[in-house]
């Protein structure tokens, strides 16, 4: 599974380092897009919790076509 998450605003290199499994680009309409392979459902929910722990607001999240 591949997922993309859209985060409000820009993120620092510290935050990028906290998501070594995701790649970071600027979102198409502002914000920051993080995307990459998600192993399973548990990993997905774990990522959401990590966003919450870092105080990041998730604006969008979607499954990418393979």
């Amino acid at each position: 599974m591949r997922y993309e998450f859209l985060i409000r605003g820009t993120v620092s290199a510290t935050v990028r380092a906290a998501f070594p499994e995701l790649r970071v680009t600027t979102g198409p309409a502002g914000g920051t897009a993080l995307y990459g392979d998600v192993i399973d459902d548990a990993h997905l929910h774990g990522l959401l919790c990590r966003f919450q722990t870092l105080g990041l607001r998730v604006l969008e999240m979607r499954l990418l076509p393979e």
Binding site: T10, S12, A17, Q52, T53, L54, G55
Partner: protein
């Protein structure tokens, strides 16, 4: 007895730090409006109140609830606090924690909770009813903090039930980062009994920021408040930033930055470099003691630094340890940022910190933590070193699944397969009953070669030997035929006592399997002693179960029951009731109860084993459980008996230990004959001959078939060979049964004296080992002899009385018809005359009449019509 080791109901251990109201930080802000808001949520006498504090990390849920809770406690109200952690995500552990919290809450009022045992599986209605009653009696306020750690549906299901049944006068406080997925919650909301406290309410007011940042100008406070939107942890971060510099405060927040991210950078950058390094390096473990912090940071004054950060920011908490030591723990948000920053700045420094933490955890005996850090350090050499120290301990403590979970993280290209990770993975898989996977791992594992000059790792070799022994016992067909390393001196060169323990337990089980009882007893007793001394419960349960099996194979059911009970108690204490580890103990208790004529208990244990069988792959346990189940069903035509015949004919039976196979096959033959399935009996006997060769069990099986077929001379000769001890008996039960059959044969031949002699010998064996079952199950004629000679059994009088009482109350239903009689019985429902039948069977008219009389006598009837009816009732037609 092990009973004295664990007094009271069995519970999982819960560290004291997670029970009771946590101490709040001195820097914490007291927020009276919110405390008052919570007070409104308290239950009145008619209301079952539910307070839900639900917000992302950093909103001060715990701090607020702790401040409130310390005020709420009153003589007529019990206040209990339980901080949930990821390890509580099982029914047994969760309820253990809740009960421990309630008990700790205080004094004599907690009496109702002291008696309760946490359930092992979800949906224990009785337990919940008792718990609800206790909560009602104490007007309890139960706080469950960090409830988001619970994700297991079973646990949530139970919690949901508690919410549904919550009694009036009690208050349930749930604090979580996520809305708890409880179906009962919306209903409780509709009923108006939920009092919610969400992020919006928990955010700081402007006045709170004023209080907290008293040293700032009004303008600066404005900026802080705007920037943070009142998110408490962020205000703290600002506070940290300001405290570090003390001057101009935070600048204008750029609008395109994430607040937390931005504030962390601000706050962090303002600290001097020494402090930054210290904070970064100490963020690696979840909590640090003073020694670990000093080692990680290389700063002897780190304690002082952490204390001052704790005081200024409120983002570091001091946790009292059980032993009075202090541990510091970063707020999850701060920790997440520190770890990210450490990784970004210097991956090598992070790995170094992980290595230090791993080594420190090894020395501190924190096995799982050590492995976790070693994996994160991404250093194969270190991982192997750490696994060597901690892996065997985890294994013998019954933490194989945890070990596998940890090793799975190490299964990445950067950490290539190391000898220890491979060997431990195989051993752990085997411990969980995944024999095939374990075998694949075992053969993939490269053999340990002795390097020139370097001494080979004896521990690793011993671990591989232990695995090989167990794989052989589980009869893996493609296993290499020789021991991976069979140097006899191996045992004396072992470094780790846990490897020694594992080797002893596995070797004992293996010796038992191959019938070396004396050696097995020595190994198993050694294993039990070592496991007790080191508190290694997994190996202790295994060794005790194996020892119980050893006793049972010697027909000493008293000792077997004692050891199996001890194993079961320890297993319950650790919440392993649903683990395949417990199958053997249940099975042996089942056999013990069966031999002691307690069918009810025996059935309960067999039912447990049959459930656990789904996950175990021990062919001996499987076969033996099937046999016991068939014997308990009692009817040779029932489906339980079919299962046994199938198991005996199936591929797993030959893998069971010879003794187990002999015993089960004999039970199969007896049941076949009782069910008049003579061909089955023949097939099983053939199987015994092929697997066991000449032995007492085979002789007895043949004697039983011959007796059923009326070939009494040959049958008596075979019985004599068993009772005289001229053939080897795998299990003592066989000799007892041979004496009973001998007694029956003697009675048929009208040799009453010989019958009594056989019975006396049988009673001797039965009395010694509490093996009463065969006596009760024997024929009515034998019981007649027992009755007829009452007063002449000497020391066995009591046993005889017991046997007769049981035999009278539960008459055996099986009617023993001979082969000829069964053939004849099939003809009876037809309209054929005796002459017709005689012609059809190619026998004389008189022979048919003799057999008919035999059938009438055995069925207790006097006419052909009654015989047909009785035979149909008994399932013979």
């Amino acid at each position: 007895m092990a009973g004295s080791e664990h007094p009271g109901p069995t519970r999982a251990r819960v560290s004291a730090g997670r029970l009771g109201v946590p101490r709040t930080n001195r820097a914490a802000l007291v927020r009276p409006p919110l405390v008052a808001h919570l007070d409104q949520g308290l239950a009145g006498p008619e209301v079952a109140a539910l307070i839900l504090a639900c917000a992302p990390p950093g909103y001060g849920k715990t701090t607020l609830l702790a401040q409130w809770a310390s005020r709420v406690e009153a003589p007529d109200r019990l206040l209990a606090w339980f901080t949930v952690d990821p390890g509580d995500d099982s029914v047994f552990r969760f309820w253990s924690g809740v009960l421990a919290a309630l008990e700790r809450a205080g004094g004599s009022r907690t009496e109702p909770f002291r008696r309760l045992s946490p359930p092992q599986v979800a949906g224990d209605v009785d337990f919940l009813a008792d718990l609800v009653e206790g909560l009602a009696a104490t007007a309890a306020v139960l706080v469950l903090d960090d409830l988001h750690e619970i994700t297991e549906p079973e646990v949530l299901h139970d919690l949901n039930r508690l919410v549904r049944q919550q009694p009036p006068g009690t208050t349930l406080v749930l604090a979580s980062r996520l809305d708890p997925p409880l179906l009962e919650l919306p209903r409780a909301r509709l009923a108006g009994r939920v009092h919610e406290l969400r992020a919006e309410a928990l955010a700081f007011e402007r006045a709170d920021v004023d209080t907290l940042c008293a040293e700032l100008s009004a303008e600066q406070v404005d900026r802080v408040w705007e920037a943070t939107e009142g998110w408490p942890a962020l205000v703290r971060l600002v506070g940290m930033a300001l405290a570090a510099e003390g001057e101009d405060g935070v600048g204008q927040v750029p609008t395109d930055r994430n607040l937390a991210d931005y504030l962390f950078q601000e706050a962090f950058a303002r600290h001097e470099d020494r402090v930054q390094q210290a904070l970064l390096s100490t963020s690696v473990p979840d909590a640090v003691t003073i020694e670990l912090a000093a080692e990680l940071s290389g700063d002897p004054y780190i304690g002082h630094l952490l204390d001052s950060v704790a005081e200024q920011s409120g983002l570091v908490s001091r946790l009292p340890d059980g032993n009075g030591d202090i541990r510091w723990s970063y707020h999850p948000m701060l920790r997440a940022y520190l770890r990210g920053e450490l990784r970004r700045r210097d991956l090598a420094a992070e790995h170094k910190a992980q290595r230090t933490a791993a080594r420190w955890c090894v020395a501190a005996g924190l096995d799982a933590e050590a492995v976790r850090h070693a994996v994160a350090a991404a250093d194969p050499g270190l991982l192997d070193e750490v696994l060597r120290e901690t892996g065997p301990a985890l294994l013998v403590s019954g933490e194989a699944s945890l070990l596998l979970q940890l090793l799975r993280r190490a299964d990445v290209p950067t950490l290539r397969r190391t000898p220890w990770s491979s060997a431990l993975r195989a051993a752990a898989l085997l411990d969980l009953g995944q024999v095939h996977e374990a075998f694949v791992e075992h053969v993939r594992d490269p053999p340990v070669h002795a390097h020139a000059g370097a001494s080979p790792d004896a521990d690793l070799a011993a671990l591989r030997v232990a695995t090989w022994l167990e794989l052989r016992r589980r009869a893996v067909p493609e296993l290499p035929p020789t021991l991976p390393d069979d140097r006899p001196a191996l045992e004396h060169r072992l470094h780790s006592p846990d490897v020694r323990l594992l080797l002893l337990a596995r070797r004992g089980a293996s010796e038992l399997w191959s019938g070396e009882r004396v050696a097995a007893e020595r190994s198993l007793r050694g294993a039990v002693e070592l496991a007790r001394a080191r508190g290694r419960s997994g190996a202790l349960v295994d060794a005790l179960s194996a020892l119980a099996a050893l006793h049972a194979s010697r027909a000493d059911f008293t000792a077997a029951t004692e050891d199996a009970e001890a194993a079961l108690r320890i297993g319950e204490h650790h919440g392993w009731t649903a683990s395949s580890r417990m199958a053997a103990a249940h099975l042996l208790l089942g056999w013990g109860a069966y031999q002691a004529l307690d069918d009810h208990t025996a059935r309960a244990h067999v039912a447990e084993v049959l459930v656990l069988l789904a996950t175990t792959a021990d062919p001996g346990v499987e076969l033996s459980a099937t046999a016991l189940n068939a014997l308990l069903a009692g009817d040779g035509r029932a489906s339980a008996a079919d299962d046994l015949f199938e198991a005996l004919a199936g591929h797993s039976a030959p893998q069971a230990a010879a003794g187990v196979f002999a015993q089960c096959a004999l039970a199969g033959v007896r049941l076949s004959l009782a069910g008049h399935r003579h061909r089955w009996a023949q097939e099983i006997t053939d199987g015994m001959r092929a697997r066991l060769g000449a032995c007492a069990e085979l002789a007895l099986a043949e004697a039983m078939s011959e007796t059923a077929a009326g070939r009494s001379e040959s049958a008596r000769a075979r019985v004599r060979s068993v009772t005289s001890g001229s053939v080897h008996a795998w299990v003592p039960t066989t000799v007892l049964e041979a004496h009973l059959l001998g007694s029956v044969q003697a009675l048929r031949a009208a040799e009453d004296y010989a019958a009594v002699e056989h019975l006396r010998a049988a009673l001797d064996i039965a009395d010694e080992s509490r093996m009463w079952r065969p006596l009760v199950d024997s024929e009515a004629a034998v019981h007649d002899v027992l009755v007829g000679n009452q007063g002449r059994w000497g020391a066995h009088e009591e046993l005889v009385a017991t046997v007769l009482a049981h035999a009278g109350r539960e008459p055996t239903s099986a009617v023993m018809l001979t082969l000829r009689e069964v053939e004849l019985l099939a003809e009876l429902p037809s309209l054929n005359t005796v002459e017709d039948i005689a012609a059809a069977l190619h026998v004389s008219r008189n022979t048919v009449k003799t057999h008919l009389r035999g059938i009438y006598r055995k069925l207790g009837v006097s006419s052909r019509r009654e015989a047909v009816a009785a035979a149909r009732r008994a399932g013979l037609l």
